[in-house]
Amino acid sequence: MTRRRGFLLGFLVVALLVAGGLSYFASSSPDGLDTVARHGCQVSETGGGEHLDGTCIAQNAGEHAAAHSPLADYSVLGGKGTVGIAGVVGVLVTLALAGALFRVLGRRSPARQAERGDD
């Protein structure tokens, strides 16, 4: 295996481990923006989600148009304990999209003739 491929493969493995494994240990508390949006409201858990009482920005939030996507909320079909699978799918989809776009853009690059790779 060439050095370059070794490095890129290592990078991918790290991303897959983070999304597929470390994601189980992520905090489930609201993030910074979400915390601000909920400021002023009392949040109570209900069967279908969270209920907000009081006055806060998050009360204006609408339901997500893709809320019924099979991967919504980083789960597979809403199943418990599927965040890692959703994460791995996300990494691969992102890589496929970005990889294809950047390859196409690179082909039209003026820098293409500059160097023919080092491996």
């Binding site: 910074g32 997500h64 148009a65 996300g90 690059s109 790779g117």
Partner: protein
């Protein structure tokens, strides 16, 4: 009364429709410019790197770390991508992550894509890159200098990106909190998140520069990089040349 699901980015409805539209247009115009300029930074060596950096940011954004009881933060990635693949490619990287999150994972509203891209991709990346450029002499001097630059650039990119939301809320917020409260809370929380962003960015850039300093955008054009390839370059038996 409303039920909502946990989201990491702005949901639909936090700002009014005209504001969403304006920032959607801003995001679109800047993204097209970035796509055009990105071509010059992409070749067969850097394009795969850019793809992987994008996937890596998606992965790390999933990892919310606690900052206060009941509050968390996650990587935005602006300085990270700016230092590794440059501002033009980097902005596209973050935009792709946000697009995948919104369309597949219902994270970040569809009408909020413009504001989310403006904040995290455009403001975040270019702020991170600006700070990294200011510190470039330090960054190019040693590996430690680059890692320190990464930390500072990431911290600043987080706080400034959070101001993007404050701006959008000021322009067309749907209400629910005073602007002063929103400003103070956003900056305060994101100063804490910025420390996490700094640590993750410094660690990632440090790892890349240890193995492949030639792939670090900020170090491009360095005549004799002090940061040498230190990885054991063991040619595998019969390996391809």
């Amino acid at each position: 009364m409303v039920t909502m699901v946990t989201a990491m980015h702005m949901s639909d409805g936090l700002v009014n429709a005209p504001t969403s539209l304006v920032f959607g247009a801003v995001a679109l115009v800047v993204l097209v410019l970035c796509l055009v300029r990105a071509r010059a930074d992409l070749d067969e060596r850097t394009a795969p790197m850019a793809g992987l950096v994008t996937a890596f940011v998606f992965a790390v954004q999933m990892i919310n770390f606690p900052i206060l009881p009941g509050a968390s933060g996650h990587l935005l990635g602006g300085a990270l991508v700016a230092i590794l693949v440059g501002p033009w490619v980097g902005t596209v990287c973050i935009a792709i992550v946000l697009l995948v999150q919104a369309l597949l994972f219902a994270d970040g509203g569809l009408t909020a894509l413009g504001t989310n891209i403006t904040n995290m991709a455009i403001i975040g990346v270019f702020t991170g890159y600006g700070v990294a450029l200011l510190l470039r002499r330090v960054a190019r001097r040693s590996r430690g200098g680059l890692v320190a630059t990464a930390f500072v650039a990431a911290f600043v990119n987080t706080v400034v990106a959070s101001l993007g939301f404050v701006l959008e809320y000021a322009v067309g917020g749907s209400g629910g909190a005073s602007l002063g409260t929103v400003f103070a809370l956003m900056v305060g929380l994101h100063a804490l998140i910025g420390i996490g962003e700094g640590v993750i960015t410094a660690a990632t850039v440090g790892a890349v520069v240890a193995v492949r300093p030639d792939l670090v955008y900020l170090l491009r054009g360095t005549a004799t990089p002090l940061v040498r390839r230190s990885a054991p370059s063991t040619p595998t038996a019969g390996g391809a040349a």
